[in-house]
């Protein structure tokens, strides 16, 4: 089952990276511990423990089918950012990944009461062949090296070329480098 991890442009003109699918996890060798229970009918998220070729995380407990859960503002205390898993550099050539793999940003979003933090990662995943504008409904696995799967920048989930937000590398004429929810990483859109 597809579990799109989407980095999307929709937040204030910002793209959001797509959630990786179970396939993405398997491709990247991210073995899965059991996922946390889903809410609203969502299956659990695959775990992120293993580095060896894994078979994808176990599905979590099915959710409650969309029951409206009132959110209570938790009044979050400040906490330090959890350590990121950085195994490569998305803007380097080569990016430090084995042949056939590409460096992609990946974000673990929390499932807690609202005070947890997301975890940013840079991981080597198998590269697809999707280039600018290619559909990536199955997640980042479909995008070629140098491209990531985002939602919110164009219709649907699309592979778009990554660009550094510091302006050091310009997008082609007609494109602008728009921010995503991956730190420091934009996409040409």
């Amino acid at each position: 089952m597809l579990a799109a991890l989407a980095v999307a442009f929709g937040c204030a003109g910002r793209s959001v990276t797509a959630e990786p699918s179970d396939d993405d996890d398997a491709a990247s060798g991210r073995g899965g511990a059991g996922g946390t229970g889903g809410r609203g009918g969502k299956a659990g998220q695959g775990g992120s423990a293993g580095r060896a070729a894994g078979s994808g995380g176990m599905a979590g407990t099915a959710g409650t089918g969309g029951t409206d859960m009132p959110y209570e503002d938790p009044g979050c205390p400040d906490t330090p950012a959890p350590p990121a898993q950085i195994e490569c550099d998305v803007f380097s050539t080569p990016g430090g990944c084995p042949d056939g793999m590409a460096c992609k940003p990946y974000i673990d979003h929390p499932y807690g009461s609202g005070c947890d933090q997301q975890v940013f990662n840079m991981l080597c995943v198998y590269a697809g062949d999707g280039q600018q504008g290619a559909v990536c409904d199955s997640g980042m696995f479909e995008c070629a090296e140098g491209y990531i799967c985002v939602i919110g920048a164009a219709h649907g989930a699309r592979c778009l070329r990554m660009c550094p937000l510091d302006g050091s590398v310009a997008c082609p004429l007609g494109y602008v480098c728009g921010a995503t929810d991956a730190e420091g990483i934009g996409v040409c859109a």
Partner: protein
């Protein structure tokens, strides 16, 4: 003419006295008089009398008299006779004073007390000679000075005629100390502009803020954090009821993906209540658009909870004036619509929603086109109409309500090439009937990101474009007529930079007819405010 009492039978109606509100009457003796209105009962009690003095008059506009016995009444009885004040002049308002029974004949009307009689009110003819085309607005009358306010102030049938817009000052950074900032929601509540922006620190953490700006872009209140969470926080859409702001945004604090939240701020940028979560589904809910409806708020967003089955959807939820949700989230698009890029506008009468859907796959396997669509709803997101197709190859549509109509504008292109040489637009009525459609800009290599401001019967369009021969995106504006989308004020440059692209403008009508615009620069990524000043020559009368 208005009559405060209905005269029957040639100007006099007989009403059995005391039929209502009297408890000391002899019940059920006789039926009411000929031609009289019944009381509260089918056969009301009758008060017997000998002289008029025996009958109690409670309202001198309907004095009670003693009527002699006749064929229908075998005893003398009290009944009222309503005074008719109809002077047969259709341009007056006829009334009777209950305290003394005297008739008054006021008019022609000057309901707003601006010294100019109204032209017409409901039920009266146009011929009464008044020269006030809006007798409910003391600033509108024949002879008034036309202002930049989207109204026909001088009653000549034209709105803001002669108005010119021009850049009224340098651009102002909204968050000058920010490492990176991006403006998002923008609204004017009659006192201040409210703008939300995403601030990114040097370590990459993002925080959403709301700041209030004055007419020139100076921060007057705030910035205030939109929320107190530890995940990255992104600014969202802003709506205003006229005395503060509601903002709706997406963040991924829980549920493993992005959800939609909302909260409100007062006119000093103080947060009024905890965040309220509006969406609850798997996968991302993003890109909220908030609208004040007059009865509350509506928030619509792109939702991917069905992305692995029927595709992306547009969802929405109604909120009360207190900012709390009233009812469940609603799916606004159908199973066969792969929909996103939603925007909304409206009022208490009708909410217009525009979005993009994916067209059918082509036989050769090439990428399907995208299609802009329109639906409308009541203020509670019920009574939906549509969908109505507006145009193909459409991207990121924007919508504004302009009087009784909606105007939708979008740029063309595809996911791979997300722009076209011109902006397209359509004018629709509240039920989705298309009045006009077509290109509204020309002269660009790439045009995109239109933002629309309603100015009476016209719409100001602000967009980003690389003009023919240009090297990077600049900002432009022009004015188009709502009914036919004709360009009535040609394009002019709003802002440009020799070093960076200026992108994603959002424009709102501000004080005195000025138009505030927020946008961002590409590198460095920073949010800016600028404004267009509006002026009308004093010769316009």
């Amino acid at each position: 003419m208005k009559k405060d009492r209905l005269a029957l039978l040639g100007g006099a109606a007989l009403v059995v006295a005391g039929a209502c509100g009297r408890t000391d009457l002899t019940p059920g003796a006789l039926r009411g008089g000929a031609g009289g209105e019944g009381g509260m009962n089918d056969e009301p009690p009758v008060v017997e009398c000998t002289l008029d003095a025996d009958c109690v008059t409670e309202d001198l506009c309907a004095p009670a008299f003693c009527y002699l016995a006749n064929d229908e009444h075998d005893v003398s009885y009290c009944a009222t006779r309503v005074t008719s004040c109809d002077d047969a002049n259709p341009c007056t308002v006829d009334a009777c004073s209950p305290s003394d029974g005297r008739c008054t004949h006021a008019g022609p009307l000057d309901a707003d007390h601006d010294g100019v009689f109204g032209k017409a009110r409901e039920g009266t003819p146009e011929s009464c000679g008044g020269l006030d085309c809006d007798d409910d607005d003391p600033n509108v009358y024949t002879g008034a000075h036309e202002l930049c306010d989207g109204k026909d102030d001088d009653c000549d049938g034209e709105i803001d005629e002669g108005a010119t817009y021009g850049s009224a000052g340098d651009a102002v950074p909204i968050a000058p100390n920010s490492f990176r900032s991006e403006a998002s929601g923008f609204a004017f509540d009659g006192t201040s502009y409210g703008v939300t922006y995403t601030d990114t620190s040097a370590d990459g953490h993002t925080t959403a803020y709301l700041a209030l700006l004055n007419a020139t872009g100076a921060v007057t209140f705030g910035p205030s954090r939109v929320n107190e969470i530890n995940v990255d926080s992104y600014a969202g859409s802003v709506a205003t009821p006229g005395n503060g702001f509601l903002t709706a945004w997406a963040d991924a604090r829980q549920n493993g993906s992005y959800e939609i939240y909302a909260t409100r701020f007062d006119q000093q940028a103080r947060k009024l209540e905890p965040d309220q979560r509006l969406s609850n589904g798997p996968n991302a809910s993003i890109n909220p658009a908030a609208v004040y409806t007059g009865k509350g708020y509506a928030v619509v967003w792109d939702d991917r909870r069905y992305s692995d089955t029927t595709g992306n959807s547009v969802f929405g939820r109604s909120l009360g004036l207190d900012g709390h949700a009233v009812g469940d989230e609603l799916r606004l698009t159908s199973d066969d619509e792969y929909a996103d890029s939603v925007d909304a506008a409206g009022s208490a009468t009708r909410l217009g929603v525009t979005y993009v859907v994916e067209g059918p796959y082509l036989p050769d396997g090439s990428e399907p086109s995208t299609i802009a669509r329109f639906r409308s709803y009541d203020a509670n997101l019920g009574d939906g109409s549509g969908p109505v197709e507006l145009g193909i190859d459409a991207q990121s549509p924007s919508i504004v309500q302009a009087g009784d109509y909606f105007v939708v504008a979008w740029h063309t292109g595809s996911a791979a090439r997300n722009w076209g040489p011109s902006l397209e637009a359509a004018t629709l009525d509240a039920r989705g009937n298309v009045l006009a459609a077509g290109s509204i800009t020309q002269g660009d290599l790439h045009a995109k990101a239109p933002s629309l401001v309603s100015v009476g019967d016209r719409v100001l369009v602000v967009w980003q474009a690389i003009p023919e021969g240009g090297q990077r995106f600049e900002l432009f504006y022009e004015m188009v007529s709502v009914p036919d989308l004709r360009v009535v004020v040609p394009r002019q440059r709003l802002a440009a930079s020799t070093t960076t692209a200026l992108i994603e403008p959002t424009a709102r009508l501000g004080p005195g007819g000025d138009v505030g615009v927020v946008y961002k620069t590409e590198a460095p990524l920073q949010a800016y405010f600028t404004h267009l000043g509006c002026s009308i020559p004093s010769t316009v009368r």
